[in-house]
């Protein structure tokens, strides 16, 4: 998770500062309403990220160049992909003026270029070796929860008709999306440009579409390898996601808003959102409770151990019929688990962009939470612990009595010694048998 500041402070005072891994935003709220004056409230909000880059003034000692940023990120994308991880790189944040309709010059296009150059460079290196690889790309756009292929000529009237589905073997996919086998860097650039051109044309047809649409450029990277002298494959998927500039394109927008701000939804159409938030919140609460029950049954000393409750627990007790957005659906295999997720949020340090900056950082900060945690059932544990305790007690008694016998026998004559040892052995056998039966 990182954030990046690259716009210059055209809109007035600089209100953002970067302090290590923390981005701080000062609120000098200028109320633009006719009837009000300067708001005297001034407060600083801080967001923590894994990396923060400052790209405003090249003279600044903290300055991070584009090349440096994508060298950092691109390298980790590449090394992950080679090892078979699924990678997801998000870019989110206000696009600079004039760049609204293009993915060129955005973090995503930089990373696409960088990643592909890296992939093909490696391919050349290994061309004559045992490892050979295959690169396929696809490019799609999600607008208003509908999907279309950016690399295929489609029906002008109904371009957004593709369905998202899941396959048990190959994961989430878009039905009918074209995949293009590419063999060199140039071909990919051509495809990328073709797709981007299509996005721009669409924007003139559909009302300001590109600021409200997400685009996903997917690279399927398959390496043929020999494992124990048997041919095998390492497959990885790299998703480069250009998130919509406008937060209104995000279907969970309302949902987020209602949990963050106090704003009332005016229309009854949003009743569903209110109710699901209600159900979701109460569910989180109740599942916490049930975790406590489980641990306290296991052992009371666990009841207040926070790390226990974060990893154990039961499956979702209730079902909230709220569909994931298509974006989340398509990327679920890339969030959490054996995958690497990188989120780049670009913001402007200018005071005029306060609202957008805040919402971008909030979005990026929330994005950390969408990564799923594993939940497993531990029902067998309670009984197992109890049984094991009993066995330990038995073992202790057994070993103790053996010690006792040994000490006693050393003082006794040989005749009786034999008998006693025999007796103890018989007892022990019984204990062993009953333990086996448990």
């Amino acid at each position: 998770m990182c954030s990046l500041f690259r716009e210059s402070a055209e809109g007035g005072r600089v209100i953002v500062e970067v302090d290590g891994k923390v981005a701080k935003i000062r609120n000098i709220k200028v109320d633009s309403r006719l009837d009000s004056t300067w708001d005297s409230r001034e407060k600083t909000v801080a967001f923590s990220f894994d990396y923060c880059y400052w790209s405003v003034d090249p003279e600044d000692p903290k300055y991070a160049s584009q090349e440096m940023v994508f060298q950092d990120l691109g390298t980790s994308v590449l090394s992950g992909a080679f090892r078979g991880y699924n990678i997801c790189l998000f870019a989110y944040g206000q696009t600079g003026s004039g760049k609204t309709y293009t993915m060129m010059g955005t973090p995503v296009s930089y990373s696409i270029h960088f990643t592909l150059r890296g992939l093909f460079a490696r391919k050349d290196d290994y061309a004559d070796q045992t490892a050979s690889c295959r690169v396929k790309v696809s490019f799609l756009e999600i607008y208003n929860e509908r999907v279309r292929d950016l690399l295929k000529q489609s029906d002008q009237k109904k371009p957004y008709t593709l369905r998202v589905r899941e396959h048990p073997e190959t994961g989430p996919y878009v039905q009918g999306l074209t995949q293009h086998l590419v063999t060199d860097y140039k071909q990919v650039v051509e495809l990328l440009e073709e797709g981007i051109a299509k996005r721009i044309t669409a924007a003139t047809h559909i009302h300001n579409a590109s600021s409200r649409s997400h685009a996903i450029f997917t690279i399927h990277y398959t390496q043929a390898i020999l494992e124990n002298n048997l041919p095998s494959e390492i497959a990885s998927k790299i998703n480069l996601v250009d998130l919509a500039g406008s937060e209104r394109a995000d279907p969970s927008y309302c949902k987020d808003r209602i949990t963050e701000g106090a704003n009332i939804n005016k229309s009854l159409v949003t009743l569903g959102i209110v109710i699901s938030t209600l159900a979701q919140n109460s569910q989180m609460f109740s599942s916490c409770q049930s975790i406590n029950t489980i641990t306290s049954e296991g052992d009371s000393s666990h009841a207040d151990s926070p790390s226990t409750s974060s990893v154990s627990g039961t499956r979702r007790p209730a079902y909230i019929p709220y569909r994931d957005s298509i974006l989340t659906w398509l990327l679920k295999d890339s969030l959490g688990g054996n995958s690497k997720t990188i989120m780049i949020a670009t913001i402007s340090p200018a005071s005029s962009s306060y609202n957008e900056t805040m919402s971008t950082l909030r979005y990026a900060s929330n994005a950390k939470n969408i990564i799923n945690k594993p939940r497993v059932n531990e029902d067998a544990n309670v009984k197992l612990i109890r049984e094991l305790r009993e066995e330990i007690d038995r073992l202790k008694t057994m070993l103790m009595s053996f010690e006792l016998v040994r000490r006693n026998t050393s003082q006794l004559d040989d005749d009786r010694d034999g008998n006693l040892t025999e007796l103890v052995l018989q007892n022990e056998m019984k204990v062993c048998m009953s333990y086996l039966m448990l």
Binding site: G272, P317, P374, V382, I385
Partner: protein, 595 residues
């Protein structure tokens, strides 16, 4: 009728009407670059109307004029709020309320007064002053109740103050609009209570909002049904099974209405048909959760400290239930019900199909189980594995959980074992066809659950074996093979933690730490439980068991932070690491007594 300026009353009304159309209809088409264009035009018109009214101020009936001005202040207030000019909006709305204050309980003012308060509620919520919003909205609620108690006749709609006599609304229409305004009050209050974390109250107000939508026919059936079904899930988490069932029954009934009357929009495309089928399946999934939660909650009440049915508890609860049966009826009358409308009978019939009280014996549990299982089939019809992997598996997991809780109520060990076998049969094929690269979390859950289920079956076989005179070789074989399967799935889970280079991580991430340790711990125990007459084999098993216990002890020594997550398991592992070698030594000594 008041005489107004030069352009006449009809002209004034026309202007007002145009302003309203601009504000509510035209504004939706405004371009993104100029989003408030129509709102600004509407505002200009409203101000013109206000000027015209002021010109005619003298000599006329003051009250009538005051009310008309209040209408304008209201419209202007809403207009300013809509265009994000909150302070100006507030002033207008306040002025509206001042003008109406003395007459707020009369039929020509009450609706407007409530709507002004609604809007002030919204306005203050936008300023993050939720308590202030609450005051306005609760006052609106109280005013509605007082008016309905004292007068109750359908009051005038605010727009009627700028209508010619012959255009005035019917009583029916008036009532509909008034009730709609009040429904909004309740809906806003629901949100306010939610923000104030008064969750129960929020749920109650959501429920009432749904009920009123139904009564005043202001709803889209599919959407309504889904909302009711979602609300049922809230009640589930609060263990309010009667309310939950009521919401679900109403959801099913209203949804079936939607299916019967295919409206133009519902039936148009394939996609819409698909959506409708999906909604139906989603409601079915809410029902599954209902059955499951009811059974599981009953299990919690009935189980003893090792998870077995406690017969004393069972008798106690049965006696208690008998006593409470009469009181239940009373409780029902207190709850908010979707009872006023014509669907009442169908909802009742739906409710009778499944109980809402805790099942206390196998027979009762089975009935709920069967209802749940039917909904599993219904949900699976839409959420097929091909295309909806995650959803499908979640449903299968619920199905498995239904069998698991039913097994709790089953007294006969053999039959109980068969129920767990059913779980294995449904989980195992999915688990094996799933690619963990794309479904890592879910396949880990399945692995753990399969391991757990095999463990349970092994336990049951041991218990069955203990009742026999002596363990026959067949039972021993069975026990060992179940234990081996349990080990296999714990190992699969542990393998899933390996990185792409197949190396087990040196340091376990916090989110997998406990599951991994528990898996190791269980494997250690399972090796200790394998039955063999071959002492050498027994030694080997003990050695393996020791290695797994040692893993826990060593790991915690190396990373003391891990201790917190597995205190009990660690304590026991330490004991075993201390005891097992001595035990093994004894066994070895027995094997070769002369060495």
């Amino acid at each position: 009728m008041a005489a107004v300026g030069g352009c006449g009353w009809a002209g004034v009304c026309e202007k007002f009407r145009t302003a309203r159309t601009l504000s509510t209809v035209e504004s939706r088409k405004d371009p993104e670059t100029d989003p408030y264009r129509s709102k600004y035009s509407a505002r200009a018109l409203l101000q013109e109307v206000k000027q015209l009214l002021s010109a005619a101020e003298e000599g006329d009936e003051a009250r009538l004029l005051a009310v008309r001005r209040a209408v304008l202040e209201y419209e202007l207030g809403v207009n300013h709020t809509d265009t994000e000019e909150l302070s100006a909006g507030e002033e207008h709305l306040q002025r509206c309320m001042q003008l109406l204050e003395p007459h707020r309980l009369s039929p020509d003012c009450v609706s407007l007064y409530i709507q002004a308060q609604n809007n002030l509620g919204i306005l203050w919520s936008e300023r993050d002053k939720i308590k202030t919003a609450q005051t306005y909205l609760e006052s609106a609620e109280a005013l509605y109740n007082q008016y309905m108690k004292e007068d109750g006749n359908p009051p005038l709609d605010p727009s009627e103050h700028f209508m010619a006599e012959e255009e005035k609304l019917t009583d029916q229409e008036r009532s509909k609009r008034f009730e709609k305004a009040y429904t909004h009050t309740l809906y806003y209050l629901a949100q306010v209570y939610q923000h104030l974390e008064m969750i129960e109250k929020a749920a109650q107000y959501c429920h009432t909002t749904l009920k009123r939508q139904l009564e005043y026919c202001g709803y889209h059936p599919v959407e309504w049904a889904l909302n009711a079904a979602t609300l049922s899930q809230y009640y589930l988490s609060k263990q309010c099974f009667m309310e939950s069932r009521h919401c679900l029954a109403a959801a099913s009934v209203v949804f079936s209405q939607a299916g019967q009357v295919p409206s133009a929009e519902d039936n148009e495309t394939d996609q819409d048909q698909q959506d409708l089928r999906q909604r139906k399946a989603e409601i079915a999934r809410c029902w599954i959760k209902y059955c499951l939660n009811l059974l599981q909650s009953a299990q919690k009440l009935l189980e003893d400290n090792i998870g077995e049915l406690d017969p004393d508890r069972q008798l106690e609860l049965k006696a208690q239930r008998k006593k409470e049966e009469d009181e239940k009826e009373k409780g029902r009358k207190k709850a908010v019900l979707f009872g006023m409308s014509d669907i009442c009978d169908s909802v009742l019939a739906m409710e009778e199909k499944v109980s809402s009280v805790y099942p206390l014996d196998f027979q009762e549990a089975r009935e709920i189980f069967l209802v749940g299982q039917n909904y599993v089939q219904e949900a699976k019809e839409f959420f097929q594995v091909d295309g909806y992997v995650t959803d499908h598996i979640e449903i299968v997991q619920d199905h498995s959980a239904l069998f698991k809780v039913l097994a709790f109520f089953e007294e006969d060990y053999e039959r109980r074992c068969k129920m767990h076998k059913r779980r294995i049969d449904m989980l195992e094929p999915i688990c094996s066809e799933l690619n963990p690269q794309y479904y890592l979390l879910i396949s880990r859950q399945l692995q753990f659950e399969l391991a757990d289920t095999y463990y349970k079956m092994m336990d049951l076989k041991v218990a069955i074996g203990n009742r026999l005179e002596e363990l026959d070789s067949h039972t021993i074989k069975k026990i060992n093979s179940l234990a081996q399967f349990a080990i296999k799935y714990y190992e699969l889970f542990l393998d899933s933690l390996r990185n792409p280079d197949k190396v087990f991580p040196e340091v376990l991430k916090e989110d997998v730490l406990r599951p991994a340790m528990v898996a190791k711990f269980h494997i250690a125990r399972l090796y200790g439980k394998l039955i063999t007459s071959d002492s050498k084999k027994q030694l080997e098993n003990m050695q393996t068991s020791l290695e797994y216990y040692t893993f826990l002890v060593d790991y915690c020594e190396k990373y003391p932070d891990a201790v917190r997550a597995i205190e009990t398991e660690l304590e026991l592992s330490k004991e075993m690491v201390g005891l097992l070698p001595t035990k093994m030594e004894r066994l070895r000594a027995k094997l070769s007594p002369f060495i």
